[in-house]
Symmetry: C2
Subunit: 122 residues, 2 copies
Amino acid sequence: MGARRKLDYDCPIRDVLDRVGDAWSVLTILELSKGPCRFNALRRVIDGISQRMLAVTLRHLERDGLISRRVLPTAPPQVEYALTDRGQSLHAAIGQLNSWAVEHQPGIRADRAEYDDRPDVA
Amino acid sequence: MGARRKLDYDCPIRDVLDRVGDAWSVLTILELSKGPCRFNALRRVIDGISQRMLAVTLRHLERDGLISRRVLPTAPPQVEYALTDRGQSLHAAIGQLNSWAVEHQPGIRADRAEYDDRPDVA
DNA sequence: TGTGGCGGTTCCCTGAAGGTAACTATGAGA
DNA sequence: TCTCATAGTTACCTTCAGGGAACCGCCACA
């Protein structure tokens, strides 16, 4: 949140919004919901994300216990990320929100158009 | 979103995240879910919000058809904001997310503490 | 004739988010 | 031997969201 106001008075939903309000976090969770994935593979599939932001995002998600990080004992060591159970459940919750979005998007779009069209500068 | 990337490829959830990812929008919806409220009353009760951000937030919510704006024919005209049906339903969806947050916050907090404590700079 | 509340709008300026690019080490393959 | 991929980290720089303050017209009250 741009506003670093402390309206985070221990409010639980602020914790989740800090993740869910972040586009990269959501996209990353969506990707990982399809199955485990490595760093550069994620980078290639999450269109437009920078190396730095992917690293930062993954660290945040890992810190919150939403994803797991596993280093594979391969030649150049590869790192596999996967959703934890908690991450899965958040993915489900996001799905709920997504359903709401899908259901209401047409109406929202229409209202926006109407709002933008009316010249009631009055 | 700081990133003005166009990962908004018509993705419905981006629309809703643009509102839900915004702290002020959520707080405003939460306040209005208790009942209609006027501008300055909202300002007083939403701790820390600036006049400008309240105006901006209300306009966004109104544009998306989540709240209604009604000018009362009083002496100094007062303006009453209220959740629309769509706003109510979003409030419900936020409630779902809130439940998730409340349920998982202890675990998240614990994992964060653990993550921060371990000095595996290795 | 102020002063205050109503509901905003406009300006400027800062602080933080995030992009870019350079750098790290290791091993495989040409 | 040179180059690529693996997974990051770090420094630098730009952008823009949002805070703060000033300002608006209007009316009531004292």
